[in-house]
């Protein structure tokens, strides 16, 4: 990346984050809640995009990592009464470990079989949530107890029932993930990743370890998705098996494809558009998931690069 491209991206991402921060003072209450949800889902999409956009692996099973984080945090809080920061840390670690194990196995396959294998592993994870209903309460799920709605942090008490606190926590997580991914991509390791995406054979021939590069990105992606899941469970106080279902894997794919795979802001934009669209449509009909199908097909037929991918192609080649 050239100096000016680096600077442009830095300015763009900082600008987007600044805008998000200011937004909470402008938006009415209901929309603050929705924006909080969007930012958490954007972290999930960002994790998915790390894999699809920057190393070129399309997983159909990312709900499994989201769920690993969700249940890793939720169950330890619910059953063992762990404090929230501790549960969150554990959940991120747990999803990273799940990603390491699944990645080590699934990355032996490529392309279509990689998609099918990740789909199947995610299905196993979903069935596990249903099967261990004694712990997870299956489809009905669990509401976290009132005691888990407040965080004690260095003498401070954060009240999670306050919309402002939740918004800023979600914002912090998104900012952190965005900065981390940006730093990683700008580093030498990140350039190996994009090299693998662009030409795997040549990267291997140049002496880089392709498998470990992929695994590294897989773990980053899984941990980020897990962090999103953990945040979702803790911020909104509910965990349920829907979050482990195929639909959540597909939503991550949809957000990323719509916004533009391989762009940092793309997934955020995709989440923004899709969640708003689904929210509006769910007021009109119970069949609001129809929009998922329509958008997937429209994007894959006419905008395979997504919104920001198209913008990059036409106007802003520096976009990361």
């Amino acid at each position: 990346m050239t100096k000016s491209a680096y600077r442009n991206n830095l300015v763009l991402n900082a600008g987007v984050l600044l805008m998000l921060f200011v937004l909470q003072f402008v938006l009415p209450d209901y929309h603050v809640l929705m924006a909080t949800r969007m930012m958490v889902l954007a972290v999930f999409a960002l994790g998915f995009n790390a894999l699809l956009g920057y190393i070129g692996l399309l997983s159909l099973g990312h709900a499994m990592f989201f769920a690993a984080g969700l249940y890793g945090a939720g169950l330890t809080v619910y059953h063992f009464g762990w404090s929230l920061p501790f549960a969150f840390g554990f959940a991120v670690l747990a999803s990273a470990v799940v990603a390491l194990v699944i990645g080590a196995v699934a990355l032996r396959t490529i392309r279509v079989s990689f998609m099918i294998v990740t789909l199947m592993f995610a299905q196993v994870a979903y069935l596990m949530v249903i099967y261990f209903a004694e712990w997870t309460n299956g489809q009905e799920g669990l509401s976290l107890p009132m005691s888990a709605r407040a965080v004690d942090l260095f003498g401070w008490t954060l009240d999670l029932s306050s919309a402002v606190t939740r918004y800023n926590l979600a914002f912090l997580l998104l900012a952190l993930c965005l900065v981390l991914l940006f730093a990683y991509l700008a580093s030498a390791r990140g350039r190996v990743a994009t090299a693998i995406r662009d030409n795997e054979g040549r990267t291997e021939m140049l002496g880089f370890n392709v498998f470990s590069g992929k695994l590294e990105m897989f773990v980053i992606s899984g941990a980020m998705s897990g962090a999103a899941g953990a945040a979702y469970g803790l911020l909104f106080g509910y965990i349920g098996s829907t979050f482990a279902s195929f639909q959540y894997s597909i939503e991550a794919l949809l957000f990323t494809l719509l916004g533009g795979a391989g762009t940092l802001i793309g997934p955020l934009l995709g989440v923004l558009l899709m969640v708003a669209m689904i929210d509006k449509l769910s007021e009109l009909t119970s069949a609001y998931l129809l929009v998922i199908g329509v958008v997937l097909i429209v994007v894959i037929l006419w905008f395979p690069k997504g919104i920001l991918g198209t913008v990059r192609e036409r106007w802003a080649p520096w976009l990361l």
């Binding site: 294998v117 199947m120 069935l127 249903i130 099967y131 998931l289 998922i292």
Partner: protein, 293 residues
């Protein structure tokens, strides 16, 4: 009930499931074999078949057998036509790129499923079997309809075999499967063959849906299980291989049936899904891998 008869019952249930699975998976396998397209919407074609069977049964008055017979004919035709349209409008334009078609068929899955939710509603609705006769075994009574399903599956698989091996259309399909480009060079309209095969695969799924609906009720979310199980069958049986599909369907149907009766259906699915995922990983040059070249 003693263990012997219990196991017998589980085996019968397993065979019924294997029969339906055979037909569904044959459709999926045919589509992958000829077109190299992984059709994630395949389960929705089963669901559509079942839902159309319900409409047929509720519109046709008189004996349930008449409605059932009507459904057996119109369901595959309507579903086949929908699939044909989908193939022409979407898959063909993507030039059958493997990854893009998977994403597109996921989109198709949601469109079909949610459209049925709008038109048909969220309820599970039963359809009467065409006949009610119960066969009395010494230990339990068993619905003769379920045995009819097994017989029907044998007939349908026989018909598929006949078409693929003994007719000109089958020869064309096999040629397109064996080597697309050479087939094209010999004047086979591979493009049109793809559309027909996609419709035929969907038609088979719809047929399975009609057969299963008197046992299972029609519901807009019923496509998920057949999809997963036929994926498993097709992967174990070898993609595009019909005899492999039959063997794998019987194996998976039986083991799933027996494990479901003995332990829990969820556990049975978990085990088979995990095993198949591992098969797919540790045979990277078989199945999907080979098809890639």
């Amino acid at each position: 009930m003693a263990l012997g008869p219990y196991l017998f019952l589980a085996t019968l249930e397993g065979l019924v499931q294997a029969a339906v699975l055979c037909i569904t998976a044959a459709g999926l396998s045919l589509v992958f074999g000829v077109m190299r397209v992984v059709n994630v919407a395949h389960g929705e074609f089963v669901m559509l078949g079942a839902v159309i069977a319900w409409f047929a049964a509720s519109l046709v008055t008189g004996h349930p057998a008449i409605g059932f017979a009507v459904a057996l004919v119109i369901s595959p035709v309507i579903v086949g036509a929908i699939a044909f349209a989908g193939e022409r409008l979407i898959l063909k334009r993507l030039d059958y790129n493997p990854e893009a078609t998977i994403v597109a068929t996921i989109g198709l899955l949601y469109i079909l499923q949610q459209t049925v939710l709008i038109v048909y509603g969220p309820d599970a609705r039963p359809v009467d079997p065409p006949f009610y006769y119960t066969i009395r075994f010494p230990w339990f009574g068993y619905s003769s309809y379920k045995l009819f399903v097994i017989a029907a599956a044998i007939v349908i698989m026989g018909a598929i075999w006949f078409v693929l091996q003994k007719t000109r259309a089958g020869l064309i399909m096999r040629a397109a499967q064996f080597d697309r480009e050479t087939a094209q060079a010999f004047g086979i309209p591979v493009d049109r063959v793809s559309a027909v095969v996609f419709a035929a695969g969907a038609g088979l799924a719809a047929l399975a849906g009609v057969l299963v609906v008197p046992i299972q009720q029609a519901h807009y979310l019923m496509g998920a299980d057949p999809l997963l199980l036929s994926f498993i069958v097709v992967i174990i049986g070898g993609l595009g291989s019909m005899s492999g599909t039959v063997v794998a369907a019987i194996l998976i149907g039986l083991s799933d049936g027996i494990l479901s009766v003995m332990f829990s259906p969820t556990l049975a699915k978990m085990v088979s899904t995990l095993l198949v995922a591992l098969v797919l990983v540790f045979r990277p040059n078989g199945l999907f891998g080979k098809a890639e070249r």
